[in-house]
């Protein structure tokens, strides 16, 4: 093909024109194909987009339903577990309100330690049920006003094990077992039922040991009036490293000093962990 049109013969020019005409027809044809392809792709994308929005709508609806149900289940579980715990208290007049207070303080303590929602829920179950094993302790021992005989005390010391056995049969409550089984263990290994030492006792047990002792001291007993909270805190501090985990005690003291124990005990409703 010559670049200089002026030098072309007529035949050459006609060939040139034919060539370009064909070429532009091919181009137009290609362009039409591309345009149609684009339209198809656009339609396909639009359909996929509509499909994805339907997925998002379904997901949203299911998510809200699951959330509502979770709140309901949580409420039901807390109510059921609470009723179970209260049935123990009804037999033991000296500990009225004990489980409710222990569960409130435990929840505040664990929240302070940075526990997540699900773990907090387990902590509440564990705290509410920590004395459930007392169901296997005879009334004569449970309600005895005086000192227990060594045999009676040995029976009393079975309650964490009995409690753990009871929870073993309920799948949702199995994670709460360390609270129940280990809340009478001591840092120095002189606790029961297993006599675990230091960090051998699961964190759950070490936490509940502090809270349980704090509430026991600040509640009235037949043989003494309740201790002031300050006095109980001082006693817990004194027993850090012997009875209690020396690293957890300062955390508990701070919880008290920040007024969060008072707040937990005074709030009217129990915390709804799953309510949003």
């Amino acid at each position: 093909m010559k670049d200089d049109v002026a030098c072309m013969t007529r035949v050459e020019l006609e060939r040139e024109v034919r060539y370009w005409r064909e070429q532009s027809l091919l181009l137009a044809n290609d362009f039409g194909h591309v345009k149609a392809q684009l339209a198809r792709s656009t339609a396909e994308l639009e359909a996929l987009r509509a499909q994805l929005i339907t997925y998002a709508e379904d997901l949203n609806r299911e998510y809200r339903l699951v959330r509502e149900r979770t709140v309901e289940v949580e409420r039901l579980l807390v109510a059921t577990v609470g009723a179970l715990a209260n049935s123990i208290e009804a037999r033991d007049p000296y500990t009225r309100g004990h489980t409710d207070r222990v569960s409130r303080i435990t929840l505040a303590f664990c929240a302070r330690l940075g526990w997540e929602r699900e773990r907090l829920s387990i902590a509440r179950m564990g705290a509410l049920l920590h004395d459930i094993g007392k169901i296997g302790v005879p009334d004569a021992i449970l309600r005895k006003p005086g000192r227990l005989s060594p045999d009676e005390y040995a029976l009393m010391k079975q309650h964490p094990r009995i409690g753990a056995q009871i929870l073993q049969g309920i799948e949702a409550l199995v994670p709460a077992i360390p609270f129940v089984l280990c809340h009478h263990e001591r840092w120095d290994g002189k606790g029961y039922p297993q006599g675990l030492t230091g960090p051998e006792t699961p964190l759950e047990g070490r936490i509940l040991a502090i809270v349980d002792a704090f509430d026991a001291m600040t509640s009235a007993r037949v043989y003494r009036s309740p201790l002031a909270m300050d006095v109980a805190i001082a006693e817990i501090t004194r027993c850090a490293g012997t009875q209690f985990d020396p690293e957890l005690v300062p955390e508990f003291v701070r919880l008290y000093e920040d007024g969060l124990i008072h707040q937990a005990l005074e709030s009217e409703t129990s915390l709804e962990l799953y309510a949003v």
Binding site: A47, L48, A50, Q51, I53, T54, Y55, D58, E62
Partner: protein, 124 residues
């Protein structure tokens, strides 16, 4: 025992979406990218359920469905048709019709419940 589900759709992205939606250890998913392949894979795998996209080039979902429903050789395999239009009124249950119509965009929840309903109880 796992149940086999054959999904047929020409679009790869839509097949992935279907596969992800049906993801369940109880289900084994077989993919076909067209009507001919769908019919061939059905012969090989004998799926417990077939999910068809209506708008496949060549042999369409409707035609695959008709072939499945009228060829009594493999027994009655339940079929879900993902359809472009609203399902024709009162036509389900006729010969050659799918068991369930879902118009696109389909609700994944309705798809899942249709699958469970058609497969019946599946043991874990």
């Amino acid at each position: 025992m796992t149940k086999k589900i054959l999904i047929a759709d020409a679009n790869h992205a839509r097949r992935s979406l279907l596969r992800a939606t049906l993801n369940d250890p109880r289900y084994q998913i077989i993919e076909a990218s067209g009507g001919v392949q769908a019919l061939a894979l059905r012969e090989v795998h004998r799926p417990d359920l077939v999910i068809l996209d209506e708008s496949m080039p060549g042999i369409s979902g409707v035609e695959v469905c008709r072939a499945i429903k009228q060829g009594a050789k493999a027994g009655t395999t339940p079929v879900i048709l993902l359809s472009e239009k609203e399902p024709p009124v009162g036509s389900t249950g006729d010969e050659g019709e799918p068991d369930v119509y879902l118009s696109k965009p389909y609700s994944p929840l309705r798809l899942l419940s249709a699958v469970e309903q058609l497969l019946g109880p599946v043991e874990d």
